[in-house]
């Protein structure tokens, strides 16, 4: 096993495999923003407090400023840029509809934390939402509209899930007939 301060790093970001030569000390947040030009992930503090840098790594929300890029080797990263799929993701739509942002600086991190929550718990209570985003600081909104945006998204995702379930059942009936 080699001892190195430079590495060839491969990971999957928003569904795309990427490979770059990097230094050990490169933070994941800087790798995303500077090596991959994915500047949706923001850096809002130097103290791992604000959560503006939140991304989803291997299915878990993490502060990308508090990890080295090399630690994500072979892993799967989702950033804000990967959410829209032709149309806005329900979370993005919710933040639009419910005015869940003002300056927008905390928003990508807020949305990625919310996505992690809804991936684990599709029908969260308001308390559960507030607990889940307690690692993301917002200086503009007072959080009320952020919570409403996440509730909107939860509702829309549930409706979508029910609709595709119904569609799948109809299809099964047709094939059985």
């Amino acid at each position: 096993m080699m001892t190195m301060s430079k590495h060839t790093l491969t990971m999957t970001v928003n569904g795309q495999k990427v490979t770059r030569e990097i230094s050990s000390r490169l933070l994941l947040a800087h790798f995303l923003r500077e090596d991959l030009a994915l500047t949706g992930t923001h850096i809002g503090c130097d103290t791992s407090s604000c959560g503006a840098c939140t991304v989803i790594l291997n299915g878990k929300a993490v502060k990308s400023c508090t990890m080295f890029a090399v630690q994500a080797a072979g892993g799967t990263v989702e950033t804000i840029e990967g959410l829209a799929n032709g149309a806005l993701h329900p979370l993005q739509e919710g933040f639009w509809e419910k005015h869940g942002l003002q300056c927008g600086y905390c928003t990508p991190g807020m949305i990625m934390s919310a996505k992690h929550l809804l991936d684990k718990n599709p029908a969260p209570t308001e308390d559960q939402i507030r607990w889940a985003i307690s690692g993301n600081l917002c200086r503009c909104t007072g959080y009320v509209k952020i919570v409403e945006a996440i509730q909107y998204a939860a509702g829309k995702l549930q409706a979508q899930a029910l609709a595709s379930q119904a569609q799948a059942q109809d299809q099964a009936k047709k094939e059985a007939a």
């Binding site: 001892t3 301060s5 230094s23 959560g51 993490v62 502060k63 508090t66």
Partner: protein, 288 residues
């Protein structure tokens, strides 16, 4: 800010990690990194070599065996929050895990790292002191059991030797009539404690048969409030006994004045938190 340069090794096995520790005296273990990386970003820590143990299998577990709860060093705080075993039977630990930093940090932060980093502001030291836990330390030469009372030696310093790694923590399984609680006051979610108190006690009817109290962030080294314990051990838990214990803890802790409060404020907060934590632990003991 940007950390200094270092060599990075991702260990594939525990033996590999221990071998690297044995060979490189200045190497540091990288677990959750939620304390170490912020320190490196401020260049308060500049380890020339990091050994990443996130790639070592079989270090994340929470299970009861042989009369104790065994927690693997790499167990994430979130895992403790989501463990029905911990939530139902180890209330002090459940309370403590929930208050570490914030939910995102808790996805990476580990119990082992929280203890080995030995920051007096970390939460698990007081929790483990109250539980009377045992640390399992492994090196290339073998295994050692370190009782928690001898584990925290100085500020940011544990009894671990340079070539040793914390691999497991063992909490004695509480019996009937036992209860615990962790109460922390922080300015906001994610901050360190202004003060925090960990209590684990055993009741015999209304009498406190035994009690251990750990304090967070009111001394340079994680400490037990032994004066407070003495005020309650063998006593009925009355308002007078609680006040005596609170006052003892306030007197024996050694807080620093800082942005979180003055010395007087932190002492008095400790007094109040000791009383409330003992009360809650006793309520849980009665319910158990």
């Amino acid at each position: 800010m940007i950390p200094g340069e270092f060599e990075y090794h991702a260990a594939s096995t525990l033996d590999e990690a221990l071998g690297l520790l044995a060979t490189h005296a200045e190497a540091k273990i990288l677990a959750g990194g939620q304390s170490l990386i912020p320190a490196m970003r401020f260049r308060l820590a500049q380890p020339p070599i990091l050994i990443d143990i996130n790639t070592v299998p079989n270090l994340e577990y929470v299970r009861e065996e042989n009369g104790h709860l065994a927690i693997g060093a790499l167990t994430r705080e979130t895992m403790l929050e989501e463990s029905t075993l911990v939530q139902s039977k180890y209330h002090l630990l459940a309370d403590g895990a929930r208050t570490v930093a914030d939910p995102i940090v808790r996805n990476r932060a580990t119990v082992g790292g929280n203890l080995a980093h030995a920051d007096p502001a970390n939460d698990h030291p007081a929790v483990m002191l109250a539980y009377g836990a045992t640390v399992i330390a492994r090196s290339a030469k073998g295994e050692r059991q370190i009782p928690i009372d001898g584990f925290f030696v100085d500020i940011f310093t544990t009894a671990l030797r340079h070539d040793e790694m914390l691999t497991e923590i063992r909490i004695p399984t509480p019996g009937a009539g036992c209860g615990g609680a962790y109460l922390k006051l922080e300015r906001k979610v994610g901050d360190y404690a202004i003060s925090a108190v960990a209590v684990q006690l055993a009741l015999d009817g209304r009498t406190c048969k035994d009690i251990r109290i750990g304090l967070t962030n009111v001394s340079p080294v994680p400490m037990r409030a032994k004066g407070a314990e003495a005020a309650l051990r063998g006593q009925a838990i009355t308002p007078e006994a609680l006040e005596a214990a609170g006052q003892a803890a306030a007197a024996e802790c050694e807080p620093n004045a800082d942005l979180r409060g003055s010395v007087e404020y932190k002492r008095d907060l400790t007094r109040v938190l000791v009383k409330r934590a003992v009360k809650r632990a006793a309520e849980r003991a009665n319910a158990a």
